[in-house]
Symmetry: none
Subunit: 226 residues, 4 copies
């Protein structure tokens, strides 16, 4: 809004994020594949720059160097190309430069710290995209639901870790692992959002220290005896 040009006009068509639907098949020729890839890259640039709502298809095609009509050779709607961008970015996020996490060893505190750092650094690297995700989530209920479901898996994994710590007597026994996992993950996620989207001026080190401390205290994790 205020970040858009004067008198900007924004259209939305509700093609929907409801699901993958009839996944359109990829173009067969190298040229087609190249154009499609260009389009996705262009869309990412425009989305991250203007937000989902202010992004016009014509901006995307212009950025991609093709005509407006050609958009529809590859995608049916802004929502559909957004999903493609999302897939691309997620693909990209899954190629970490051999995460140091594994080198951490068994110390649960070190593990929490490493996980928090990894999360924050990833968030920072993809900050414009993360902001975009937040926007789309706040706009579209289906997308929100989709995202919630994905988060579920992450929370469950964390909950199991907490449970194991409890079983080993390393974490407070009277803590609900599910809720603790959910709420503490949320704390970190929101801290990242505050830092990288809202622009709070903390260093990552500060954040890692503080978040890890709060997390560890909250779960009453005792330092590893090793």
């Amino acid at each position: 809004m205020s970040s858009s040009p004067e008198n900007a006009t924004r259209h939305r068509r509700s093609a929907g994020f409801a699901g993958p639907a009839t996944e359109r098949e990829l173009p067969t020729t190298p040229r087609g594949l190249r154009t499609r890839a260009n389009l996705i890259d262009a869309a990412r640039v425009v989305f991250e720059r203007d937000g989902f709502l202010d992004a016009r298809l014509v901006d995307i095609t212009t950025e991609a160097g093709i005509s407006a009509g050609s958009f529809y050779t590859y995608f049916d709607s802004k929502e559909e190309i957004f999903s493609a961008v999302q897939a691309e970015v997620e693909e990209e996020m899954l190629h970490p430069d051999v995460r140091a996490v594994d080198a951490v060893g068994d110390d649960p505190i070190a593990q929490v710290r490493a996980a928090n750092r990894a999360y924050l650094e990833s968030y920072e690297r993809y900050a414009p995209f993360m902001r975009l995700l937040e926007q789309v989530a706040s706009i579209d209920e289906d997308f929100r639901e989709q995202r919630r479901k994905r988060g579920e898996a992450f929370v469950q994994r964390n909950a199991r870790s907490i449970k194991q710590l409890q079983d080993r007597g390393v974490a407070g026994a009277d803590i609900d692992p599910q809720l603790a996992s959910y709420f503490l993950s949320g704390m970190v996620a929101r801290a990242a959002y505050s830092r990288f989207v809202l622009g709070e001026d903390w260093t990552i080190d500060q954040m890692v220290d503080s978040l890890t401390q709060l997390w560890v205290n909250a779960l009453q994790i005792s330092p590893s005896a090793d």
Copy 2:
């Protein structure tokens, strides 16, 4: 999007949330004041039902029972009436039915618990409005910044409480009160969002218990000796 009618299109002129701007003076006649109030109430209904983006001015004026053109007698833009709605809701939120918080006494744990419960109950009561706030924040940077600043005060107040607990030796001394306040508040806020906007199916009691426990542990608050 998914919740909007097929092919709905929304326009926006970026009047902006940048600030109070030239605060428009209130109408002088009782009738004018009544119409203005109707308009705000109508806007709240429509905003909460359709979201900020899908809300059309004509829907608001229709809901208010006045003509489309009369809107501009009272407000200059959708953003401006949104601010008025926000002011009204916040006014309403400040009239608590004699909050029991004060009855809590000096026990810091009981205070944290009471504060968490109060927050969640208030969030629940205003859930549609809270969702609306999230949406607008994700859309508009100025609004986001405005909101961040307001939150600041709240965080500072909490930080001072934490500092006092530390000074009394009731909370961990090595905790950064500012960050802890920010992050723990964020945890609660996000939990409320997950529950009342995303629809996670927790009871408020569960949430209060778990959040209070995590909060208290995180700050290493020891039970009051009294």
Copy 3:
């Protein structure tokens, strides 16, 4: 096609003729009523000149002297304004200048002749509109069905007349009144179409004579004894 300008482009949106649907209420102000009427008149001009398919909304609004966007103040689609045109024309057709048919008396042959003449004269007067009806019927199945149902009533009425003639012994007894009514009415309708749309060069008198003769013979109507 060939009758449209070179490289003309024709769009069709399937709003549908399925039914009256949610009949939009009339404008309340005189100005609104005037504009709506202008729009209908303009639509009739454009439809009759260009056909349904080649008629563009912007042609209609231009003809009506209003802006393109204003169209949607009154109608939702080309189909909807077409229905309004149809209603208007039918209204107009129902104001005959005191049809002479009644003056014909009891002679069945004279009655058939009078009916045929009235039909042909009316068809001639509304020839451009009749051509339009044919086109729309050939394009849209719902409209076709609608029209078929309306014709039904007319056929039934004729069938009853035939039945009465048979009962009075004035028409052949072994004729199926329903089918005869349908087929003979169809013969007259098609003759009118051939004359006024296809442009066959018969005089109305010729047509009346010949059609009446065929009709009368077909039903074996004997001349009234009077």
Copy 4:
């Protein structure tokens, strides 16, 4: 319209049905001939299924199993391939399985009956194509004119038959053979249209009986003395 997908949009460039124009020469290779034939068959399928207007060239080429661009190797426009389809269907219609018509003998009533039956049965067999013809005729004036001229010959032939009957004293002498031929043929054609396009629920036997009776009465054909 109602039969087309939501919001379908159709473009047309008026290549026109004006005439054979520069008849494009047939492809020379067997492969080319096969592709051309496939294209025509595909076009017939698509035209009959979707109507002329809603048929997209890409649908036709897809149905034919060739690429979009290749269309122009064989035809210049939708109109042109339509003409080819028409030619093909008419060719097909001219290969009757040794029509029993000739076996009818000299009885004029039996001849009329046989002709009517043959017409109706043929119409039924080609009903989707006949509907298509009606549509195109209603859309394009040149095509309409073309068709009218072709019908002329048929009407003339019938008119001559009627004349002969009159000369033999078997039909009413005061009937205009031209007009009678035209109008009665029209009656049968329209009955067929009502049955096979509009969906009236008559049996062919009913129709043959009734139409023959009306036709014979109309012409005052007396039963053959043989």
